[in-house]
Symmetry: C2
Subunit: 396 residues, 2 copies
DNA sequence: GACACTTACTTTCGTCATGAAAATATTAGG
DNA sequence: CCTAATATTTTCATGACGAAAGTAAGTGTC
């Protein structure tokens, strides 16, 4: 298959910091970088030179970046050559594999999806390799592959436990590497989405950042000090036991009144169906709630209050600089935004700073993009896999 | 007053790391230190030499540290000379000032309390200076003073807002420095207690650590990456709006069913008094609940459930490696430990790792000790005041 | 007791990242 | 053309570090 892409690695610590800063925060002059990284101007000349020579950075058109032409020698912005390498990202669901091709900046340049007909690890790896081959044909400078899977993933390589695939200790990264000859990073899907948002999305540059995903289930991701905290619940799904309202609804999954029982798409559909006997889609329920249907409005209103309570609790205890609501179920915010706000207020000090809340509807390609970001982090920039040291102790 | 103590400062970054490691983690050989800090053996010789020469470290008796005599040259443990400098810590309450003298290890070697008769900043500073003088007489090598105050403290020097003292923007550190000639660090009292526990107590060596104090009010402290996260609620007290049970009791402070209304000592006393008309102490209520009195047992049981719910929420969202319960109101745990455990379980995934919960009864001298620890951190080891950059952004 | 072996620590030396300062480049404004 | 302002490069000294060799101080074996 395609030739193994040459890597710019290894980068020194300083070079890596420069590369990441430019990658994440757009074109920056050497002087800007010196200020941001706390280094001297001289060091920036030294650090950027090999990066430019290797083709990772370029000096961009000078005029564009400066709206106000100031006095003195104009600065020379540096930018990542985003197209110099491309990456594949896959999101594996129960019955589909979603694939994307991204640039270094994680911009999606192509999409490709295929149905998943077998859960046999070898067959899944075969399918991924086929998809990689098809995508690679059009994008030769492929540097690596990221794969997002629901479940517990160890060492960014082995699927330790995945309930929906019924996998245990499947060395997925190895299987796909064998077939493609490309370096592969595997990660929990929520974790991948969180990393993507931390680097390139809503959490860019933040120190404390929370991602809450609402969809078929709930996902929770915590970023502290710019680094994602590994959770022990990744393999079991979040929120089944986050009891929001002990008198709340009882649904097939999640404890009575739990976040899962009140907020997830299946739970909301179940409630409406149980009350009316009709099979309706999530979007229909939202539309009818907005239109004033009392039954749907009640369920959605309760969901909104549950979400607000959850957001307030997270804010009270974690004090994040921002919370991102993502997933397929965030349409809730448009219809029940008021209920959410009210519930947040009720569970927060009236003088407390408002919760910085951002909503982003995401589809499965966004999840796949998250996996690609993992590949970018690990393969290009040499960001270490922190899983082995995640709960290691270190001094104050 | 006493001569300004000579400081060992400035320490280089490497020296500081060594000093802190030995201070916090007890006697350590150079080889141990090399492993812990990720440095070479040679570097440790270099780094420890000036620390030993300056008297901050000593080589301890060799035999004691090694229970099992292994082969090879025996290691030479290094220890901090804890008595080489002493520190003062003060906790200011509404009507009292509690003072302690501590060693470098923050062991309390003397206590001294005085009633606070005026809230006038100048008078408070006078009193602190007097107390410092009295304590200093017996402990000459005084290196600095730490002061803990309820309320918002800025730059570890200025009391921005303190509801119980009715202060606004009082430069307390400066006032006391003028009078004593010693360097002074002022900090929020909860923050100081958290720092003390992070460095020398239950949170020693942990990455993610939560302190929850129960007393006249609630206190919440979050330590991430070994560093305390500054909260925006320090000046207003925590938990008045952490709604645990919307149908819970209503008390003079805190919203109905809030953590403050269900858990704090005044709220519990209020509930019992409202039901029985009797004025009883917190300890009496605990005793009667343990003895089977239905009224007290109900109130205490509810408090226990509230605490358990709170602990579970914190654990779910913050995922700390340990939660410390401290303050004067933790006697609750002995009487209602079962209710706490049950509530934690009900709000956690059954397979989730158990919550590492530690209880520590603390009195006002422990709060004063916390303030002394702040002084140790800042004055001796040069730990930076992170307040100005607490919410500053930095890249991933 | 001589010897090998093991582990801890020290010394020496080369490398490398860094900052300070001076030099150079490139613009604007007179 | 000259000066001021700002950006970048060059040069050089410093200092922190690791590798490797050397020394120290014990145990185990014969």
């Amino acid at each position: 298959m395609t030739a193994l892409a040459a890597s710019w690695l290894p980068l020194s610590a300083g070079e890596r910091a420069v590369a990441i800063e430019v990658l994440v925060h757009g074109p920056l002059s050497r002087t800007d970088l010196a200020r941001r990284l706390g280094l001297s101007a001289g060091s920036l000349t030294r650090l950027t030179k090999p990066l430019i020579e290797s083709g990772l950075l370029v000096e961009t058109a000078e005029g564009a970046a400066l709206p106000e032409a100031r006095q003195g020698r104009p600065s020379q912005p540096l930018d990542i050559v985003a197209e110099s390498r491309t990456f594949l990202g896959f999101k594996i669901t129960d019955d589909m594999v979603y694939g994307v091709v991204t640039t270094l900046r994680s911009d999606i340049v192509a999409r490709h999806d295929r149905p998943l007909t077998s859960h046999e690890p070898e067959r899944v790896a075969d399918l991924l390799a086929e998809m990689a081959d098809e995508l690679a044909g059009r994008h030769p400078s492929l540097a690596g592959i990221g794969i997002g899977v629901g479940g517990l993933v160890e060492h960014q390589a082995v699927v330790g436990e995945s309930p929906f695939l019924l996998w245990r200790d499947v060395p997925l990264a190895g299987l796909v590497e064998e077939r493609t000859g490309l370096p592969v990073v595997v990660e929990n899907d929520v974790a991948a989405l969180v990393e993507a948002e931390t680097w390139f999305g809503a959490g860019r540059g933040l120190d404390r950042f929370v991602v809450l995903t609402i969809g078929a289930g709930l996902g929770y991701g915590l970023v502290l000090g710019g680094t994602r905290v590994r959770s022990g619940e990744e393999d079991r799904g979040f929120g089944r036991h986050w009891i929001i309202d002990p008198g709340g609804p009882l649904t097939p999954t999640g404890e009575r009144g739990s976040a899962v029982a009140m907020l997830t798409i299946p739970a909301i559909r179940y409630q409406v169906q149980a009350a009316t006997g009709r099979e309706v889609t999530y979007e229909q329920i939202l539309a009818e709630a907005a239109a004033g249907d009392p039954m749907c409005a009640r369920v959605i209103g309760e969901a909104g209050r549950a979400l607000g309570t959850l957001v307030a609790q997270i804010t009270n205890f974690v004090m994040p600089q921002k919370i991102l609501l993502a997933g397929e179920g965030v349409g809730l915010m448009e219809v029940a935004g008021r209920a959410v706000d009210d519930a947040v207020r009720a569970n927060r000090h009236p003088l407390a700073a408002p919760v910085p809340l951002e909503t982003k509807v995401s589809d499965f390609h966004d999840w796949a993009r998250g996996a690609a970001v993992l590949a970018i982090q690990v393969l290009v920039l040499g960001a270490a896999d922190s899983s082995t040291q995640s709960d290691q102790l270190h001094g104050p």
